[in-house]
Symmetry: D2
Subunit: 423 residues, 4 copies
């Protein structure tokens, strides 16, 4: 084996039960290399890290390079690492060819002088680097400005896979619950506890809400959550706001009376009339101020200082003047609201409830770093699976109707877990 190229890799942390070591061994053999374990210290207690030093071999240097590159993605460090390579952005909104494409997991880059943690971590971005300031941060396409240095290739980039906690946790490690057959009350009680913990720690809670929240008559539960101080940010579209105004002005949603459940003759017009009234007033806030809008989710959000971002879509009726119709601007506003109140490495939003909306939930999920806890609620299991399975570390999916979910959640927050009265 003396002719072969080799290098020494080092793994630290929960390398066995987090699958780092087995995955690395697997990868090496898949690429035609081989390895010898030089040192293996296995941690004995929950919080003991393990250490493995492993020498990898390959017949060709480029294979060895590929092994090292992938090993780094698995969290390994080469004993002798090389700093990142960068190229300069030449064209507005275009990354240099060969750019490193980010994940949503904590990432560091090796500059001369040591490892630097990447700020504003987000998936599907490029990595901008300022060597003088020793800073690295994620940039979406629209922030690629000529002159910026952007990482190319995988050299000198390391991500930190999350280590699985041995404590039993509701927000599972890469293992989201999406069953409709499990006892739901238990989960909701744990979500309520988590929300309280986030607020106690000063974190912000984001609700991403679809029109179903109002359709199903659950708007007043969401209003209650806002009043109780459990919503700091609200992402939504035109439809939920229109339904909400329609409910406030006419007592209907899409022409269906929210109290009797019956369709109103010519009631569908209410939808259009609600839009027209807001357009005439100029904004939702103006309607609240002038006393035209006296109830509903939007009114409660405005009264309580919730940061609202309404992102438009091509199917919108109207839309309301408050809706952001330019999609780049909408994304900018969403990113701003997510990081507001946090720092470079941890966003202000610490927990996100995604309620019955696929479009805005996917948009949001793509922007969140992996550490933000997410709860996805939809009556369609396919939507829940799709949302819960976006590589976030800590996500829960519930297949249920949003009205039931919000009802139980409000109760769990106000008076503890439900179901006691009937037992």
């Amino acid at each position: 084996m003396s002719q072969r190229a080799s290098t020494l890799l080092r793994l630290e942390g929960h390398i066995i039960d987090s699958m780092m070591l087995p995955q690395l061994m697997d990868m090496v053999m898949d690429l035609g290399g081989s390895f010898e374990v030089r040192e293996l210290k296995v941690g004995q207690r929950n919080d003991d890290p393990s250490l493995c030093r492993i020498e990898v071999f390959a017949d060709q240097p480029q294979v060895l390079d590929e092994i090292v590159r992938r090993a780094r993605d698995l969290g390994a460090r080469a004993e002798h690492d090389e700093p990142v390579e960068t190229a300069r952005v030449q064209q507005e909104g275009v990354y240099p060819e060969g750019f490193y494409s980010t994940s949503n997991m904590p990432t560091s880059v090796l500059l001369e002088g040591g490892w630097v943690r990447v700020a504003k971590q987000e998936m599907d971005c490029a990595l901008a680097v300022d060597r003088q300031l020793r800073r690295a941060w994620c940039i979406p396409f629209y922030e690629a400005r000529p002159g910026l240095d952007v990482v190319v290739g995988h050299r000198g980039v390391r991500i930190t896979p999350r280590e699985r906690s041995r404590d039993t946790e509701i927000f599972g490690f890469m293992a989201s619950e999406v069953s409709s057959e499990k006892p739901k009350n238990v989960l909701i009680g744990q979500i309520a506890a988590e929300m309280k913990a986030v607020r106690t720690a000063g974190g912000r809670i984001l609700v991403v809400g679809g029109p179903g929240v109002v359709h199903t008559g659950a708007g007043h539960y969401l209003s209650r959550l806002i009043e109780l101080g459990y919503v700091q940010v609200l992402f939504a579209g035109n439809a939920i706001a229109v339904h909400d105004v329609e409910a406030a002005l006419f007592g209907t949603a899409l022409g269906v009376n929210l109290t009797s459940g019956l369709a109103i003759e010519h009631g569908h017009e209410h939808h259009m009339r609600a839009i027209n009234r807001v357009r005439a007033a100029g904004s939702l806030e103006a309607m609240v101020e002038s006393g035209q809008l006296t109830s509903g989710v939007m009114k409660t959000a405005i009264d309580n200082g919730v940061e609202v971002v309404l992102g438009g879509s091509v199917r919108d009726d109207g839309p309301l003047p408050d809706v952001i119709t330019e999609m780049g601007e909408a994304q900018r506003r969403m990113r701003g609201a997510i990081w507001q109140g946090g720092d470079d490495f941890e966003p202000g939003v610490r927990l996100a409830l995604m309620l019955s909306t696929m479009l805005h939930s996917i948009a949001t999920g793509n922007m969140l770093p992996a550490a933000v806890r997410t709860v996805c609620v939809d009556i369609n299991p396919a939507v829940v699976t799709k949302l819960a399975d976006r590589g976030t570390w800590q996500s829960i999916g519930l297949v249920t109707d949003v009205e039931s979910f919000l009802h139980e959640l409000v109760r769990a927050i106000e008076v503890g877990p439900a179901g006691e009265e009937a037992r």
Copy 2:
């Protein structure tokens, strides 16, 4: 037109808004016939019947026969009707060729001496007739015994299409609600009111329950419904009973702890051990009597004298000794329980709640006369559509999880409509 065959048909009732008249006109023209309206009196008030006498023409007598036959299915009467034709059953369990295949709607047959209403109305049966006793009744295949007279062809058979009430009703006329987007609380409140009305009138309520009722932690709500006197009959399979016993003995369902929502190590064995215990005891009732089974839906049902029919299936584990493993016997028992407490024309069961089970719900739906109100609850919209759309007059479908439904239903029965506390 003098050469053509003609006959005079008579329609009575809400013939215009129930579509009887337009459908009849349509049908006549589709078959190449023509018609002239001889008399049309349109009712002015809600309860005024209308009357139409209409002469139909066709070039060939057999076409005229077909027109009259189909007109009868639409509820029309020929002014000069002929009595039914019958053939004798020759072979056990086999109808005579050409047998009349029943619907679930009220049906009458014309014997010498007048129209006789069919007893035990049910779809997909044959019509047995006893001319001496002036009796007619539906027989499933297994009741076809040599010697019985069975109606063949369509002559002398008339069904009574239900007339649509002009009162706004929750149990719609052939128009089931299956949306997951409508306010659910309203519907559940109305279902609760209907259940109270049924009980006040002495009717029986049937619950058809799938294993999800216990899985989702909703068993105690169903128990509560039973204790409150709102369940007289329970149709289910092996699985729900096993889960229920498992929950009572071990606190789990399929190995998942119903309180914490967490999977128990080796917990799946609980499922098998629960089955074994009941098999050892001989029956659920024996377990209750010996004090081995002290909680759960089955215990509550036994304590409260609910008529339980557990119908087996090919996928059953065990099964429990209480499960009827011969399918013909299971159907007989179900039919018996449906009609028990009623008379020949109206079954004792006046309302059926079908909760998260497709197999048993379809089996039940096929046996119910059209007048029995049905409520179908499932989280899968396709199941709800399929169940709600079985030609019953009065069905409601709710796309929601069964735990939420039962929780709200119990509350609506005990303390009135929900959602008040959070408004």
Copy 3:
């Protein structure tokens, strides 16, 4: 009855089997009025219209007004009609209070001098009227400009409900097929025939396509449809175009190899690299011209002069420079493409295939007049039901995977109905 207000209504067409007459009778009685049928001539043959003159009575004039208003929505004409009332737009983008909200059905307005048919019919718009030019047309919110006269109230507005053809038709009358259990080949054969008929008559065919078209490996079937001349307009989003470019450049979609079905290591980066390449090139067309893009749906569409409108959304990665990111502009472009090649009353697009995309399909469905035939294909029955049920006259829904649908459709167009080889 002499004290009561009354008026004479006239119904013409297939008033009985289209339910016009029964619905009108029902409505009158629901509102507390009454009626007497003055004349009823029922058409005898398929193409014979019927005529009914019916006098309606009410105790109060405003009730009578309401009756007449609703009767007009049902297609009735008051014998003595009054012209429309209008109000002037005062504020850019805001309709006058009380505006008439349109449906997607053919509508006429009564001006001095007679009825005028409304141009550019579309639902959820207002009606602009130019009395001098004797013109009326639908305006979406963004076309409400100060000075325009807009219809308020329901007076003088008449819609023409579509009459049901007695011919058996695949594109059913308000009765879309959404079953996954029906023989699919038959439907697809009939769709192919309809597409041929549309093209022969010079109509344009619109495809609204979701990313699944490329994901599932069905892109080449769509390309084939384009080459065969069966697609003139393509509405889609960023994702399908990105997947298509990724497939052309790297042979993958979201990193999954389209030939082997296996995930490629680091393949997800292909998605981002494809976007970056198009951004660098400036547009899809530029990539085709420079020879960088040599295959795929977008290349075929560009080569064959298909009118492509890519509407953005808030969840887009990139997006491609071709994507319209301002939603009002996207809607304007879609409306333009729909009506291009037609006239004021009939759009150029005569048939729309909506393939696996809810967002763009709903956006499109909202813009189409009721007479445009639509075919909705999705593997999720809930999506198909939602799309097929938007009040278009002639829609078909198929619950199937889009790859199978396109495969069969291409075959049905090229070589006739499928399934022959295996019979």
Copy 4:
């Protein structure tokens, strides 16, 4: 550590990449024990096994026992194993309390004299042992006969977890494909190849078919598969057989014409008449022999000697005389057909296609040993997930309509992979 109990465990095989080692370490620490790795030899090549000798410690002997018990379930062997403990069956159909509940994975029991592999492996059974014959085998409840020795507890029982092959395989290791977004043709081509390999090796192929196979017009494709020799066993219910006979006699399924796709007037009666004809004839085979049944899946199956098991259900109409209405008997017949043609350890059936039926597919899946490859096809993703996720090693789920699947499968078998013509 001298006071603690300890024992030496041995793991062999692909212990790292199959997760055996990490899971074991995790489990030991979860239970409060600790460990020291005594020896670790990691295999370097694909087929090199690894070996690990690990000493585990616990403060209490019962904890150590629990560790050893669970380690055995993970595939570890204690260096010093103890033989199984048994108890005698006392009551017909009832296992002894504390019985060992089986999985579907290869299992061995330690008797005096060495390890014995369990025959007729199946999940949710007990283990019968005959010490004299040195035999062990799975018994379902109904085979528990007084006098049999049955294993109790976990001592002396070892299961062999399947090792993951490093070859890329379509039938994934515990990782079923259930996406509707992947290229389907590729998968179907690989399934066809697997079916050919199974037949070449003399294995039997089982089709579990739901009524949708005939509904959707795909019956002739299944018939073709039978004729081509790719179906040896057919499990189904009453419905598919009735639909098939109805199609053969009347050209309809549930009254819908299979060629035109249109509903036939009074067509639903065909369903009942088809049942009656078979009941009159006595059996499907009698109808084939007498020339009454000349086409369809059942006729083809009978002609080609396919072993057919029709298992009844409580929702059956009729049923046909061929349907087994006693569920225990149906299960016995299914087990017989699965193992027919195999030996004690490998059933004759080597591959199962489960087509659009949840009831019979779950029943079948519960009976199959883990090594039998399964393919689950349904248009409902929830059904596919549920079926594909039953602990079999090698399962594929396809979310598609069964007609498309069978069409492509027949083509892939007859003429190679599809889609070529349109490329």
